[in-house]
Symmetry: C2
Subunit: 435 residues, 2 copies
């Protein structure tokens, strides 16, 4: 009988602030980082996952993951991987650790990393990429992953089952189209707030030429800069091509409405995170005021209860789940089911470290088995740090191609784990040129 015998953590940080990659109104100088975790079993199996952070505090996130070790070490691998819903509920439901959230922040992201590592362990044992593993589960198995305690007023297990059953027909055709044509993507690469206008225009044109379905521009700094940068972007991509805006929570509710007024003439596709990520009522108010511009949020939405309310309040046009903000695959299955029940498209948040690699599995699973649609749906893409992963996200003609290797996509190269180890890896000792 195989048991989980080790939970290893690593503090891995990339000095991205040196190039202003990833800069936005709220994150001027991020150092994209991973609180990395490996579960090892007595059969030599491994499960890899990570929680994404933006630098300082990655050590706190690592401490959060370590605090879960006593709930994991010694457990029977078959039991864990055979009931990942129960495993997740045990981690998020620990009566003492739960106080640190509850179900939010460091301890919830820690549970997410460990839940995802267990999914990676299972997917690796079964030799399947996560998207294929999830799509192969029965509706009953999928529903068992979800903690319905606080969700039943929006979605019952029976309704979730019916929704999954309804997605059955056409599955084989969708899988063929996915393998042939991939999944739509949009590019955030042009729009970082620290880039100058020439770089913005050049990268925007490149994104169109590369076949991306949309570009995204960061806003929320100086109002005149927002107008100028959006004008440059619109000029670069031409009329009609979708441009999303992202304020990264920089505004208050009324302020968001005011700040959007001069930007509407550039025909933005959505405004993302116009205000505090917790403000369900605020998002509903902004949405009512800025329509037909869509409202998108979710990368900082801390658990399915918040997504439930965003949907109940008709506060969002686009749900942006994140691979590492919530309690892992289980929470994200809940979020996909909720979004499908409310007929709102999911466009996952990505970028960062490994988020593209992980989140594509969830979108592809959604296409095969939940919403069963690709219209109005795209996965964010940012073109850095992929080279550190065993299977980097692969874009062809502006679309994600389905990953082939077993696992959830979080596995980094041993050389990268060593080089970017914080604070003693070569990249942080000053031996490395800035990138």
């Amino acid at each position: 009988m195989a048991r989980i015998i080790e939970l290893e953590t690593r503090d891995v940080r990339f000095p991205t602030s040196r190039g202003l990659d990833g800069s936005d109104a709220m994150n001027p100088v991020p150092d994209y980082s991973a609180a990395y975790v490996v579960l090892r079993d007595s059969d030599g199996g491994e499960g890899h996952a990570l929680a994404f952070t933006v630098g300082r505090g990655n050590d706190v996130q690592v401490a959060g993951i370590r605090a879960l070790a006593p709930l994991v070490i010694g457990r029977d691998v078959e039991e864990v991987t055979g009931d990942l819903g129960g495993f997740g509920r045990r981690l998020t439901g620990d009566s003492q650790l739960r106080w640190l959230g509850p179900e939010k922040g460091v301890i919830h992201m820690a549970a997410g990393a460990v839940v995802n590592a267990a999914w990676d362990l299972r997917a690796t044992r079964e030799g399947k990429p996560l998207w294929r593993l999830l799509a192969g589960l029965t509706p009953e198995e999928l529903v068992s992953l979800v903690d319905f305690r606080y969700l039943r007023d929006a979605l019952t297990p029976a309704e979730a089952l019916a929704l999954l059953d309804a997605a059955g027909p056409g599955r084989a055709e969708r899988e063929l189209s996915l393998l042939d044509d991939g999944y739509p993507a949009y590019s955030t690469t042009p729009g970082w707030i620290g880039y100058d206008d020439a770089k913005l225009a050049r990268l925007a044109k490149q994104a169109v030429a590369d076949g991306f379905a949309m570009i995204k521009i960061k806003v929320g700094g100086d109002p005149a800069d927002d107008v100028r940068r959006l004008s440059v972007a619109r000029e670069a991509v031409g009329p009609g091509f979708p441009i999303a805006l992202d304020a990264n929570q920089a505004w208050g509710v009324e302020e968001a409405i005011d700040r959007m007024a001069p930007l509407r003439r550039f025909d933005p596709y959505w405004i993302e995170e116009p205000t505090a990520p917790d403000d369900v009522l605020g998002h509903a108010r902004v949405r009512a005021a800025v329509t037909p511009v869509r409202v998108a949020t979710g990368e900082h939405a801390h658990n399915p209860v918040l997504f439930k309310q965003l949907l109940q309040a008709q506060a969002v046009d686009v749900v942006q789940l994140d691979a590492t903000r919530v309690a892992g695959v289980n929470d994200n299955v809940a979020i996909l089911l909720l979004a499908a029940a409310y007929d709102v498209p999911v466009c996952p948040h990505a970028g960062g470290v490994g988020l593209c690699e992980m989140v594509q599995h969830l979108a592809m699973f959604d296409y095969l088995a939940v919403s069963a649609r690709q219209d109005s749906r795209m996965i964010e893409y940012v073109d850095h740090l992929h080279e550190h992963f065993v299977e980097p996200a692969r874009i062809v003609a502006g679309r994600y191609t389905p990953p082939r290797l077993p696992g959830i996509g979080a596995r980094m190269l041993p050389s990268s784990l060593e080089r970017y180890a914080y604070p003693h890896g070569p990249a942080w000792r000053g031996d490395d040129p800035p990138r």
Copy 2:
């Protein structure tokens, strides 16, 4: 010029699970704990504060506090204590650490502990208990403490000023009445879910005899137990005496409504935390269904944006702020102002470790300078762990008496800090690890 030269942290835990003190539907075996912090300045001044947790994970909370040290060490004490609003915004706004919340969970509670330690440093330097220090600030100084970025749609700085100005008249009389008669309290001591019926009845009668304004009973376990225990409590205290119920988030939304039905005949005063603390819309729905039973929540409400929404959605009858869940005194001043603007009473959450000692300052400040009222207002009281504090909360005739020593009330005895140090203090040596 004095500078902050040290941020010391301690992991302090009390083995309360051994007696089922503090047991409820979601926290069956808590070990009440403090992530304790001391700021020291170059003049020998000290500021003490803590974040309350319930055991496992207290080390993660300590790590969160330590992560803030670089933002604090070396700073000019006059600058920090002269602009505690700006100091707090610097801690909660750090662009990298903020990602770990944002403004929720471990990193936000860490900011709360450090902000509160700075308040303790200031209050100690000025020789005033916090309630007196706060009540002596001008309306402009109080408003400068609040981060209005996400709150303006509910309360503008001008409205907050007007509200504080309106509380001016009668201040001297209220202070005299506070010094003479104290502040109303209610007791949670009888109602822990792990206590048997005889203990519940005995402690309930004792609470009435002691002059408390209300008792509180934990519910949310077995439905028949809820009915029986509430029946025992009602029998013990007699008709008309207020009994609050506390489900500690055990229920879903519809479930809360169903579970309250058989309890209503016992005339409960409020139902506390009927469902997920983040569920604004859910609380609004429960409130509409259970009226005239009041709905109370807030001890797990993670920041002022959530309180704002609970008030905007008319989801609560009672706001229960907590001394260590949010980003310290600054956030709690915001919450008191919001509650006063919506004319909803604040009944602070207490118990735990040091929460009674800290939260009383906020309620007394509210009485003197914000709501200027005591009606429908009471502070929770639980009768354990007070002996570890330099100035234990003092109840006379069922009412809190105003603290006299300078500071915010969080200062523990050095002997207690040593004895309950985890894991190597005498109280933990030779003991099995708590689970």
